[in-house]
Structure formats: structure tokens, C-alpha cells
Symmetry: C2
Subunit: 387 residues, 2 copies
């Protein structure tokens, strides 16, 4: 039987050579071999982040790094503005409320899930001169790419530390962290980097360090000041998840071989093909865009045409029976959208397998009359890409 194809926004399928890297015997985590490994990973990730800031790898998921970013930075006195138009933008609000008892210091700029971020509203919110501004770059829950560059400019204007969740953008899309003015950027291992889940990376600017150094309420396991001190010895403060470091190193080697430029191009092409296919099949993309937002190049959110009578279970359950796992909507979007991720080392082949399964399911449920239109549209995108 063909292996189940994961087209969810992480964990993504992991190449056999990356899986194999984890069967290496354990090494001393305070020794030279680990030191070299960690140093290499940090240097390569700095290139991928396009940053000169400090960067660390945490033994925990993207959420662990999100908490590290906020928890080290803020206390009860910090004014923080969280811009959100989906689940992950809102996660920063939840985390901020754990580290700041004064609710009036935590301002949320909420847009409807799937709606674009309006810069005028953000501008008004920043009038309170916050010390910290947060946003999700690629909002995985709704398939929208938020305006990092524009919000980064506003944050800089107010001299605020800009924290950007790039968990599902870095490695698959263009994210020039320093150019965008991002003080804290975060990525997860199991998304566009194509590694297994369990690691995250976080970059920290000088401006962010200024707020962190004197904060006595920093978390412990993810204490970034301890991470900084340990990195000088090429170590992590606590025992690192060694096999995941071995795997991440190999995943970064795969990226080097492909080159980031081609990798981003591939992510763009694959998501474009998915969008062309699903709209060709008569489905609608979920996100509403404005001039400063875009469709995500790593996950495509599609509205379930409920009016036609077709259900989430029919679409996703049907596709799963055909060996393809796509993601559902989260929380308030459950049953209303489904999401196809094109992250990591996914190729045209997997996208075509996914579209084929979708076509079959739509036909079985009488949403379309005949197969082929989605595949045709996807193939057209692929052919144009190679011209």
C-alpha cells in the first residue's frame, strides 16, 4: 500500500536521507562534535533568515519559540500590541497574557480570520507607543501572507521590538528578517525546512536583547539569555534533542543542494498550482486579500462549498481514504475550510496526487461532473514554470 501522503502544514513528509540521519549513535552534548554541529546549523539558519542577529535552536516546537520570544521580553509593565487575523496571531495574545498581569498593557488588533490586515487600523493602535509589536507572517490557519515589511516599518517608527512568527514562511518564502526590521523571528523545524518536528529557531536583535537582559521573570527552559551565554561555548543550556539536530543538519544540506532561491520558487509554483487547480474545480480560496497581503505560498486554505451540500468529512475523509491527508479548519473555521500545505520537500508529484484525490472526491459527491480539470490547471502552472 502506498504510504499516506501528509499535505498538512506540518509535520511534513521527511525525506529518507533526513530520517536516516537520526540513526546516528548519541554523542556527548558538551563536546566538540556537537559544538561544530550546532555552530553549522546556526550559521546556515542565519543565512536562511537573512539576519546578522543572534540565532538559537530550541529543543521544542514553534510554540516553544513563540513563548521564548514573548516570555523573555515582557513583564507586567510592558506595553504590547498583538496584530491578529487568525489562530497563530492570536496565540501571541494568549502568551502575552501569561507574562503580563496588567491586561490593559496587552492590546489586540483583531481582524476577522481570513481577512487582510489593514495598515490604517494598525497605525492607530500603535499610537499607544508599545514596546513590542507581534504578528504572524504566514497565518497558517487561514492561508494568508501578512504584510511583514509594512508592519515592520511602523514598528520601527515607534521604536518597538517587532516579533514575527515565521514558523511556516521561513524556508519556503522570501523572509529577509533584517530588511523587514524583524527583531525576533521564529521558525519551526517540521514546516518549510522539511525536518521532523521538535526543534525551532529564534533570532534576536540588539533592541530585543535590551528588553530581555534585565527581565527577572524570564522562563527557565527557554531562557534566551542562558542560550546566548551557552552559545559562546557552542552549547545549549540544557540537553538538546540530539537526533533532531542530526536531522535538521541533513535537512539544511538538502536546502543547500537545492538553493534557497530555487526552493522559494518551487514553493511559489506548487501553491500557485494548487490555487489554479482548486479554483478551476469551482472551489473558492478562503482568504480575502488587500493590496499589501497575499495568498500563502506554503498553505492554501479553501472554502468548503457548504451550500452545495458537500461536507468537510466528505472532502477530507474521502481524500484520506485515497491516501492523502489534508488539514481541516481550526477552531471557528472547523468544517468551513480545508487546507493543502505545500511545504518542505513536496514536489509536483505529490501536488498532482493530492489534486487527483480531491477531484475524485468532488466527483463522487457530485460537486463536479467529470475529472481532469484540476490536474489540467495544475499541469499548466508547472509547464509555464519551466518555460
Amino acid at each position: 500500500m502506498e504510504e499516506e501522503l501528509l499535505m498538512i502544514p506540518g509535520p511534513v513528509p521527511v525525506l529518507p536521507r533526513i530520517l536516516k540521519a537520526m540513526s546516528k549513535p548519541m554523542i556527548y552534548h558538551r563536546g566538540d562534535e556537537f559544538g561544530r554541529l550546532y555552530e553549522e546549523i546556526v550559521e546556515i539558519l542565519k543565512n536562511i533568515f537573512q539576519t546578522r542577529n543572534d540565532l538559537f535552536v530550541l529543543s521544542g516546537s514553534g510554540t516553544c519559540a513563540m513563548e521564548a520570544g514573548i516570555g523573555n521580553l515582557i513583564d507586567n509593565e510592558t506595553r504590547i500590541v498583538c496584530i491578529a487575523n487568525g489562530k497563530f496571531g492570536e496565540r501571541f495574545v494568549d502568551i502575552a497574557n501569561r507574562y503580563n498581569e496588567n491586561k490593559e498593557n496587552v492590546t489586540t488588533v483583531n481582524f476577522a480570520w481570513g481577512s487582510p490586515i489593514e495598515l490604517e487600523t494598525v497605525k492607530e493602535a500603535l499610537e499607544c507607543n508599545p514596546e513590542v509589536v507581534t504578528m504572524a507572517h504566514n497565518e497558517t490557519s487561514t492561508g494568508i501572507l501578512n504584510p511583514a515589511k509594512e508592519v515592520g516599518k511602523l514598528a520601527r517608527k515607534h521604536d518597538a521590538v517587532f516579533v514575527l512568527d515565521c514558523v511556516t514562511s521561513i524556508g519556503g518564502d522570501e523572509v529577509p528578517v533584517d530588511e523587514f526590521g524583524v527583531d525576533i523571528a521564529i521558525v519551526g523545524s517540521q514546516k518549510c525546512l522539511g525536518a521532523p518536528p521538535g526543534l525551532s529557531a529564534i533570532s534576536i536583535s540588539e533592541k530585543a536583547w535590551d528588553l530581555m537582559q534585565e527581565n527577572p521573570g524570564r522562563p527557565y527552559y527557554m531562557d534566551l539569555v542562558a542560550y546566548k551565554k551557552s552559545l559562546e561555548k557552542k552549547q545549549t543550556p540544557y540537553t538538546p534533542s540530539l537526533p533532531l539536530f542530526f536531522a535538521l543538519r541533513e535537512a539544511l544540506e538538502v536546502i543547500r543542494e537545492e538553493s534557497m532561491e530555487r526552493r522559494i520558487e518551487r514553493h511559489r509554483m506548487l501553491s500557485k498550482a494548487v490555487r489554479a487547480a482548486v479554483t478551476g474545480l469551482g472551489l473558492s480560496l478562503f482568504p480575502k486579500l488587500n493590496e499589501i497581503s497575499d495568498y500563502s505560498n506554503t498553505v492554501t486554505a479553501i472554502s468548503i462549498p457548504l451550500a452545495s451540500g458537500i461536507t468537510d468529512e466528505q472532502i477530507r475523509g474521502g481524500m484520506r481514504k485515497k491516501g492523502v491527508m489534508v488539514a481541516g479548519g481550526q477552531e471557528k473555521l472547523k468544517g468551513k475550510i480545508f487546507r493543502i500545505a505545500t511545504m518542505g520537500n513536496i514536489t509536483e508529484k505529490e501536488v498532482l496526487r493530492t489534486i487527483k484525490a480531491l477531484e475524485q472526491v468532488l466527483m463522487e459527491n457530485e460537486f463536479i461532473d467529470g475529472e481532469g480539470r484540476g490536474m489540467e490547471e495544475a499541469n499548466r502552472v508547472f509547464q509555464n514554470a519551466w518555460k
Copy 2:
């Protein structure tokens, strides 16, 4: 060339079949397959912990679980007594100070590193009627086994939540969590369980839940209330480190095949052999014991006979050249002791290889006149064990 033998207190050498388990392709972390895997791991660990309490697996090291235990439990108003006679007992103090701004609420009962815990001193400290009492069971930094049962009784008498760091005892020594009255027990994956680093497990009693439920300052990534809610769906709140779960499941299968009884017996025999060998070679064990403490069965701390002129570098550096890595002293014990761990799936063979390397180094540095005495003592222990 023979592979370097890790005789350090984690990461321990991992059996090939456990390493191999990590090359399994990724699965959906919210699906049935992961649910079964997680449920099985939790049930087996509850048996190993000998507890009926809730138990969770965190995607982070033992320190992550230590922070989870304290951070969910305490706030600025909580009176906490931390009993410490080594680095890991003291770690609870550091963590408590991050979650409790009122330093007068955090009482430390400090004994010299390597000295035993005196129950009379603990009794006096508990007169303040703390809500929480913490201790390290197996103090990895000094090779001493602390009196969990006795301190557990005192904590219960004062109706305090008893938090016990069992990071390097559970899986290698007898730790009946419920019988000892331990409300929060913690273990790491890369120690006596014989799995790779990156996971930890924590058990929580009803009494501990009472303090946690209403604590608004709980950490986020390691929010145990969120873990409890997610476990009902056989899920973790955030993406788990899948390959490490695959490995832990296999490591638990290895434990099942051996049986916990034989596993503990083996740990006892191996550490006894190490103690017999090193004392036979004229070295001294570092810990000072009283009637309620004992030598650790999972890590042996040995004083470096500095008066004889031999150094840490000569002993550990020399052994490493022979392919055997043992641990040094930490912080104030650096250069004064070295530590030989006998954790996880280590056998007589590895212990003998270690003792042989130690003998050679001691001879090369003219601490002893001839080889063989250490091996002889170790072998005598092994032979008696099989009688």
C-alpha cells in the same frame, strides 16, 4: 575504530533498534495512530512510575519538565521549600525564583554538595508550613540517592505538594511514586529509560492539580492544564517531537522485555561493580552517607585523588583517548570528582571496558603499580550476582 562509549549520566548509548525506530515516516500528530502511541507510552510509564496519577510526555528535556512542575504550581504567594544537596536540587530554587517574586516565600534547605540530607533540618524548615516541597531523588551531580520516602512523609504531614526530580532514578531504581507520596514526579528520556534525549515525563496528583488549576501565570508551552485537556483526546497541546516518541515507545518495549525488576537489579549490580572496582583501585567514593541516604545506583561519583598529583584531565582525558567518556564534576566540583554512569541499557561489558580504561590511566599516571585489581573486583560482583 570502536565507537566512543558514553558512560555519562545522559545522553546514554541508545540501542540500534531504538535508533532505528526513528526512521519511521512522519504521521499526523492529531490522528489515531499518534493517539494510540501516546496512550501506550503513558500507560507503560504509569506502571514504571508506580502511579495512578495523571502522566504526560513533554517534548523537552528533564529541565523542561522541572519547570513545568514548578511553573504551573506556584505564584508569588506560594510558600515553597527546596531541599538541595547538589546541582539539581538547587535547580528547583532557580526555577522557583522565576515564578515567585517574593524571595521570602522561597526557602532553601541547603546541604553541602555530596553530603546527605538530615531529616531534623528538613523538619525544622517545614515548620513554615509550605504548600510545596521539592527535592532531587537521585542527585546526579554527586552520586547520592536522597531519602524520598522519608521526606515524602514529612511533606504529607504538612499537607504540602511534594515535587521529586526522578530524572535519573526512574527506570533504573525502585521509585514507587504513589507509595512515596510524590505529587509531581519527573523523568528524562535519555537516562535510565535508554531513549534519546528530548522528551520528559511528569506525573501530577490531585493535590497538585488543586494548586495548578487556578494559577493564571502558568507557562504556555508546558501548560499542564492544557496537557490534561489534550490527553482526553489522546493528543498533546502542541506538535510533539514525533521521532522521539517512536524511539521512546521502542525503549519501553526493551524495558518490558527485560522487566523492571531485572532492570533495577542490573542497575544495582553495575553500580555496585563500579563502586567495588574504584575502591579496590584505591579511589574514594565522593558522597558522604547517613542512615537514610545511599549511593546512587545509576551514577557513581568518585573523588579525584588530587593529593597524589593526578588530575581530572589525566583521568578523563586519558580515558577518552581510550574511547571511554566519563563525566566530570559540575560547577564547584569541577576538577574534584569524576562520574561513571550506569544507566539505561548499559551491560557488564561496557562497565568492564570502562574499568579497564580507568585502570590503564591510573597506571600510566603512576597512581597504581599494576592492572587487574579493578577488573577483579567488578567481576567478583558480577559472579556473585549470578549465584
